[in-house]
Each structure stands twice: as C-alpha cells, then as structure tokens.
Amino acid sequence: MTRLTRRRLLGNAAAAGALAGAGPSLAQGAYPSRPVTVICPWAAGGGTDATVRIIASLLEQEFKQPFNVVNRTGGSGVVGHSAIASAQPDGYTLGMLTVEIAMMHWQGLTELAPGSYTPLALMNEDPPGIQVNVNSPYKTVKELADAIKASPAGKFKASGTGQGGIWHLALIGWLVAMGLKPGHVAWVPSNGAAPAMQDLAAGGLDVVTCSVPEARTMIEAGKAKSLAIMSPERNPQFKDVPTLKEALGIDYATGAWRGIAAPKGLPAEIGQKLTAALKKVNDSKEFREFMANRGFGVKWADAAGFGTFMAGSDVAMGKAMDAAGLKKA
C-alpha cells in the first residue's frame, strides 16, 4: 500500500512534468508526433539491453520518430519496472518487461505484477538448457537424471544465477517434475550465468541450468556440453540437444522471456498501432537475424496473448518459488 502511494505520487509528478513540457504536442497529429522513450530495466551491454535496442531501432524506422532507449537500473530491476508502470500512459513511454516481473512480487520486493501494465507484445523467450562439464561422466540427460535420483540429497551441485533466480526455479521445476524434493540438488548461488559456466569448466560444479545462448560460448569452446533443453521444441541453433520430453518423457518447460509493455491505461488505438508495428518488427529480417546471431529465441504473442502468457508465467513462477521456500506470505 505504501509503495503504491509513492508510485502514484511519482506518477503524478511525472504527469505534471509531461503536461508542462508536452502540452501542445498532445493535440497535434497522429501518434507518435514526438520522440518515444523506451525504458530498459537492466544495464547497458546486457542481453535485455541489446534486444530492446534492436527493437527500438526497428520501431524508429517504422514510425519515423526517434525511439530512445533509457537504461533505468537499480533495485535488481525493480526501479526500471516501476519507472515503466508509473509513466504517463500516453504512448510516449514504453518499456521492456522481463521474467523478473512475474517473480519479484512473490518475494515481496515490489507490488508490481504483470497486471500493472498494458501488455503490447511478447518478443523473446529463452528456455534453460542442462549443461555439464565436457568431461562429465554423464553423456545423456537420462544418465544424469538417474544419477541424481540415486544420489543422496545435496550431493549434486548446480548453479546458473543467484538464489531464487530464474534458472534456480528452472532446476527446482525439473526436480519436482521428476518427483524429487526441490533441495535434492544443492544450489550454488552465482553472480549470473557467466561465472557459473566458468566454475563448471573449472570443475567446481556438476550442472549449470542457464539459457542456451548464455552457455553457448563455453559449449563452442569445447568446455561444456548441453544435455537437454527445457522447452517444448528443440532450439534450431542446437539441433542435437533433445527436449526434456523427448529424453525423459517429462512435460516440463520454462524460460526467461522479454516483451514490450506500456503503463496501464494506454489508449486502445495507440496500443493497437504499437502491437501492429511490433508484429512487423518481430517478422523482420533484421530482428530475426539479430536474434539468431545471439542465439536468442524469437517468440511472438500479441497484446492479449502476451497478457495471458504473463499470467501463466506468473502462476508457474509463484508455484516454483513456493516450492523453493522463497515465497513471502
């Protein structure tokens, strides 16, 4: 409640500023008649930043107006996500939502949830892979799964991100789907996927469950291999890696996703315009090439579809966090 109050006031302050600065331009012409700000809740140079920048530059071509990317970092993503939610819903501030928006509120870090936005389009989803050291005795995910089941709890060590991060939840989901306890494989918190992959190569870990693009360089360097992918389909970049369903018959899939959204209360016609433009971006050769180049998975859902998708993700994350004991009452 208290945070809400603050947010509303922030929003009002921003609104007052926007009205003072942009009063006349609201009246003139069709949307967009002036530059649009796209908020990225993560730092410059990362995967989300790259994705949001390619989308913004393609939207710029589409609308012939500048789409400026602004990195609003801090608060482990909370600050940027609140900046999107509290902006004026006039279509001149958009932002990229990441999977964390479906996770943070369960931990009581923010009151923002997927429902706090006007969804516009889902653009990307990256499923986690199950990576092991190249010298690991387990050649297939079946062998690994059997060894995990046969071992005492805590013997296997896995990593990929911090405690309660998306890849930790992916591991828990996989373990629960195999009928094991969430803590059966010990989670070693790491500062992101890259250090985890390094420790995997250094022999300090048994398994890393991070997304395939994050593991890609180490796999190509011959230091690690991917045994399975937690998604419904194989990744066209890594055709040889089977899905969990194919290899183990387990119907479990998850992933980190990114999509574009606006503050709640965006006028419907602006929303439709943006969704239509984002569809063009999603289909464009440039976007597809860029995503393929980085190994990112392209995904599409329109405004309504993105809303449903986020709601589903929200429930799934809530369950996994509950299993991990991370959920605040």
Binding site: R3, T5, L9, G17, N68, A186, A324, G325
Partner: protein
C-alpha cells in the same frame, strides 16, 4: 550507517517522493554530524575532526549493530550458510578495530604520516573570520546542493537547477559575481549539450527546454 530501520515506518517514509526519502535517510546522520561539529570540537581544529576515542567507539557501535542486524536475517531454505554470516564476520571485525582505535593502538603511524603530509597539506582557514558553525554548514553545502538537485531537477529542469548549484558553490568559495554568474550560465548549458545530445543521458527539460 544505521544497521536497522526502526525509527520510521514505511508509511511515513513514502508519503512524498524523493525529498523526504532522501532527507530522512540522511537526516539522522547529517544532524548527528552537525551536532558534533558544533559541540565536541576543540577550538583550534577544523570541523568534524574527532578524537580517536569517539570514532573508535562509534565503529564499535556500528560493528555490533551490523552483526546484530545480520543475525536477524532469515535463513535461506536449503542452504547451510545464509545471508547472516558475512555481516556478522565483518561487523565483529569492525567492532574489534574500533576498540583498538579507541585504545589508541597504531596512532603512532598517523603522527608520522602527518609529518610527511605537512609538506603538501591544506592550510586551515583563518579562524577569526568565520565561526565553527558557519564552516560546518558551509562544508555541508555541496551535499545539500545535490539533495536540492534530486528534489528540483524534475520540476525546474536540468539547466536552471545546475545553474543554481554552480552559482551557490562558486559564491560560497568566495568567487566574485563577475566570475560566478557567467560560470553559472555557461556550465549547465555546456554539460547539458554534451550529456543530453551526445551521450543521450535523459536529463529533464523542466521549465527551460534546450533547443537541441
């Protein structure tokens, strides 16, 4: 450096954006400093220089508070080592260091360092012109101006806020208006041009949007 958040509740904290949050977070700290600078100081010293006993005991307090605050951290399910270990280790270490400082151990090194420094140290301001309290307030001017920036920049815009900051700092340092006013007019505009235009930092326009 408070180690626990009692003393103000969330609801009072978030009533008005930015300013009270900032000030309240800083408030106890600043006022404590101000009190000290006015009461505890020997007359011939610059403000905020405290005896080792005071700083040492303060660190003991911070260390214990941090260790206690750390020990309150909830354990993480499924992990043996939770978030409490590191603050406790560091807090206890800090408390020990604080005690050693309060006892004056290692002070001799400082005397030697001071002798070294004498060759290129600052000259204290002539004491007769200004009272200690005035110096204390002046020292706090730069951080106070930054808090003013936080509060004002979204409403006034970058250029007017920046101009006010530059003007205040220049005048406080004894610049003549002939220098301070042109400086206050030119600097924010130049900084805005470089950061807003070339580096795309979103500085707010406020009342005075720039033509670029």
């Amino acid at each position: 450096m408070r180690a626990s958040g009692e003393g103000f509740t969330h609801s009072t904290l978030f009533v008005i954006p930015h300013l009270p949050m900032a000030l309240r977070a800083m408030g106890p700290f600043l006022s404590r400093l101000r009190e000290r600078s006015m009461t505890l100081l020997p007359a011939d010293q610059l403000c905020m220089q405290l005896p080792d006993k005071v700083t040492g005991l303060f660190l003991v307090g911070v260390g214990i508070a941090a260790a206690y605050g750390g020990s309150l951290q909830p354990p993480v399910p499924g992990q043996q080592i939770g978030p409490e270990v590191f603050p406790m280790v560091v807090g206890i270490g800090l408390a020990i260091c604080g005690a050693l400082i309060a006892l004056g151990i290692g002070h001799r090194f400082e005397e030697e360092a001071e002798a070294d420094l004498a060759a290129h140290s600052d000259q204290p301001a002539p004491p007769e012109r200004r009272s200690k309290a005035a110096i204390g307030l002046k020292v706090l001017l730069p951080p106070a101006l930054l808090l003013f920036y936080v509060v004002a920049v979204d409403r006034l815009g970058f250029v007017p806020t920046g101009a006010a900051m530059v003007l205040a700092t220049a005048l406080a340092l004894g610049a003549r208006p002939k220098l301070a006013i042109p400086l206050a007019l030119v600097t924010p505009v130049g900084v805005h041009l470089v950061f807003y235009k070339l580096l795309r930092v979103p500085l707010p326009d406020g009342l005075l949007p720039m033509p670029w």
